[in-house]
Symmetry: C2
Subunit: 238 residues, 2 copies
């Protein structure tokens, strides 16, 4: 019996490639702990003392949601003006700590490798454009990098808007996309998009927190994900 | 049939009370993130750039182990002199951040309540005596508080020496003691003592990380543990 040769045109293979939608803080840049410290300082400036771990677990969610949750949990009369000042106080404090922010291991290599093998990708962050652009620069990425920030959508994470918009921006179907994030807010947004979620430990969450939030796989950081791309539906040319 | 009255002398009841052995940083005081930042700064001063989450996951282990692990993982030639400088650099950096350290919710109330109901307790920390004493002062505890620090034992956590010594100090059987800690190093030390381990989320670990490391129960913080003392073998007088 003759051997059967299966051949498909390259374009068909390419269309099966998923797109990658990356969170930024804690996923590509090592900035979560600086954001935590910045929120602690901003809150202290308005007289609010919150245990630091409770701030950590909210990094990556919409700033509006963060402040709303705060007002409800503290059960104190925080006036609207005080709450309204918090985002700017946080931004100022974050800039004071920005000189210690570094790319996470393998971040730029991962993105470059995806481009090389024809996998489209974009970045989608609950952060403001200015701070996101600083991080993109830190990663050595060109200004034309597809980047969707908080001010470009109605609702930030855990709403799916950021990831849906990011997929549109690069002409990808969100349902054929893989969201990579370090927080449960990324993974909740991914499920709602709906897209497949992958967790990274580099934002300081525990592995099981990310799995229970819906992560299909959990890796240490971008370098670890790069080493395991074959596990997450990426077909690399031999 | 007459009702059967079971009576036991108070001393017998008291002897059934477990003793509590508390970790300090992340368990009674909200200082883990300050330690994380301090280690990052110390490492940067000697030219080492580590992702911050990997530092976070090592807080609470012996400083010697931390530095050994570092030397092995980095696979670079870190000379002994550089490694030897790290603990002092960390201590200096931690003091720069100490003014933002606060007691965790309910910490002092929990300790006071245990004393009131006749439950013996002590504090056992991988930290140095000077910094532990500052934290004890911050908690408003008397200088006579039973406190075992790194310099009083051969090996710090995850070796069980600190908890074994703390139990001896207050005349308790370590096997009838409950170790309360926020890190997997506390829980590993507890299993080796052996004592029963309880985890607190207030150091920023995930719940399941603490359960998998052997925590019998996991609470948010000291206040949450205080509200659930009846779940962890403490008998309170009605």
């Amino acid at each position: 019996m003759p051997a059967i040769t299966v051949s498909r045109p390259d374009s068909a293979v390419a269309s099966h490639q998923p797109a990658f939608l990356f969170d930024l803080d804690g996923t590509l840049v090592d900035s979560v702990y600086q954001h935590v410290v910045a929120w602690r300082e901003a809150l202290e400036e308005v007289g609010i003392n919150l245990p630091v771990w409770t701030i950590h677990r909210r990094i990556g969610m919409s700033g509006g949601l963060f402040v709303n949750a705060l007002a409800r949990e503290l059960e104190t009369d925080l006036d609207r003006e005080t709450l309204a000042r918090l985002p700017a106080l946080h931004a100022d404090a974050y800039m004071r700590h920005f000189d210690s922010v570094r790319p996470l291991p393998g971040a730029t290599r991962l993105l470059t490798s995806l481009t090389e093998i024809g996998v489209p990708w974009a970045i989608a962050t609950s952060g403001q454009q200015h701070y996101a652009e600083l991080a993109v620069e830190l990663l050595g990425l060109p200004p034309a990098t597809p980047l969707v920030t908080r001010d470009q959508v109605r609702y930030a994470k855990p709403d799916p808007d950021l990831f849906i918009t990011a997929a549109e921006r690069i002409g990808a179907a969100v349902a054929n996309s893989i969201v990579v994030g370090d927080s449960v807010w990324d993974l909740l947004a991914a499920r709602r998009a709906p897209a497949l979620g992958i967790g990274l430990l580099s934002g300081g969450y525990g592995r099981e927190e990310l799995i229970y939030a819906g992560a299909f796989r959990v890796y240490d950081d971008p370098l670890d994900l790069l080493a395991h791309l074959d596990e997450v539906a990426v077909r690399r040319p031999l």
